[in-house]
């Protein structure tokens, strides 16, 4: 009786542990690299896969197009143009740190074709009227690189 209980517990625990590991592995396998910086994306221009491109919107480059917006993003080293289809999110603006989901357009200098924009805000919080060191704030060009 006692050994049967032990077996039961051992089986239950192993099943739990396996579920955790498999669950994490499956869920994160495609997403461990949740985004690529502009420099990394430029280095892997040949890829046809969908990925997320991280950068800050270059101020003054946002132009509305018939189907969405066109703008430049930079990581401080490289800058690329993004052609986005659809409405950008509420906090989309000059300098906003963005993740654009999509793939490279065809052609050597084609824009990155995005169909989803997410805002990756930083961990700093401050009221609007406080003088801040702009280089340390969320709106700076380089998003954190993991």
């Amino acid at each position: 009786m006692r050994s049967r209980r032990r077996t039961w517990i051992a089986v239950g625990l192993c099943a739990t542990a396996v579920m955790v590991i498999v669950g994490l592995a499956v869920a994160l396998s495609g997403n461990v690299v949740y985004y690529r910086t502009v420099s990394e994306a430029v280095a892997e221009r040949d890829t046809t896969a969908r990925f997320r491109l991280a950068g800050a919107v270059v101020p003054g480059t946002i132009r509305e197009t018939g189907t969405g917006v066109r703008f430049d993003v930079t990581d401080g080293n490289r800058t690329v143009t993004v052609a986005h289809r659809g409405d950008p999110p509420q906090l989309f603006e000059d300098g906003a740190p963005v993740l654009c989901e999509g793939r490279w357009g065809r052609g050597r200098d084609a824009a990155f074709a995005s169909d989803r924009i997410m805002i990756k805000h930083g961990e700093e919080y401050t009221p609007p009227d406080v003088e801040v060191d702009e280089t340390s704030m969320a709106a700076t060009p380089a998003p954190p690189v993991g």
Binding site: R5, I9, G12, L13, T16, A17, V20, G23, L24, A27, L28, G30, N31, V32, V33, Y34, Y35, A54, P88, P89, Q90, L91, F92, L99, R116, I117, M118, I119, K120, H121, G122, E123, E124, Y125, T126, P127, P128, D129, V130, V132, M137, A138, A139, P144, V145, G146
Partner: protein, 255 residues
Amino acid sequence: MNATVAGADARTRLLPKGLGRAIDALTLLAIGALLVFGLVIAPPDRFQGDAQRIMYLHVPAAWAMYLAFFVTTLASVLWLVPRTRSMVWDRVAGSSAEIGLILTGLTLALGSLWGRPVWGVWWAWDARLVTTAVLFFLYLGLLALRAIPADPTVRARRSAITALIVFIDVPIVHFSVNWWRTLHQEATVFNPELNPQIEGTMALTLWIGVLAFTLLYLSLLDRRYRLATLEEGLAERELDAAIEARVAAASGSAS
């Protein structure tokens, strides 16, 4: 209330009654202060505006979730060590896990409500969000395991060992934003540099939120523990009544 009920009352409580009432009162005060600070006194965020105020619930809920699961783990260890083994720890572990699960759900829901206006999406399959969702289902599993009818000692041992295993995900959740690239921000207060990136009044509001949720957790734990002891008492009484009915039926048919 007669003497026997009062005596039973002392054995059904985790905290002395007076302390429990004091915590309840302080919880209400802290929630009131959080409402005033969170909605009126704290300034809106420079970038996120008023949407940032969700932080004053989301972060304290996540903190209380960590606390609840830590208490479950500690109580499970105390049950497993023969010298401290007591059903008190089994009840604390179960009660705390239940509250922690609710707090995890709250953290996920509040995070989703915050994500929509700020990120632009309700959900993202990034490491922080996925590991937190996994945490929810791990503790849901622990509670399901606790609900399987079994001998109390067997159930307590099985639950205690499982509680130690599922806790592994808690540090993974906390450090996920440092280990992997995520849409979720890195820690504002408990960052690796231990240098909070938040303005004074906002930080104070956040701490009031943490205090309010900690007190709320203690208040709920005290109540849930009492409920657990009362449930056990009821189950015992029902068993006694069932045995009596059997005996009565048997003697009735014999005569």
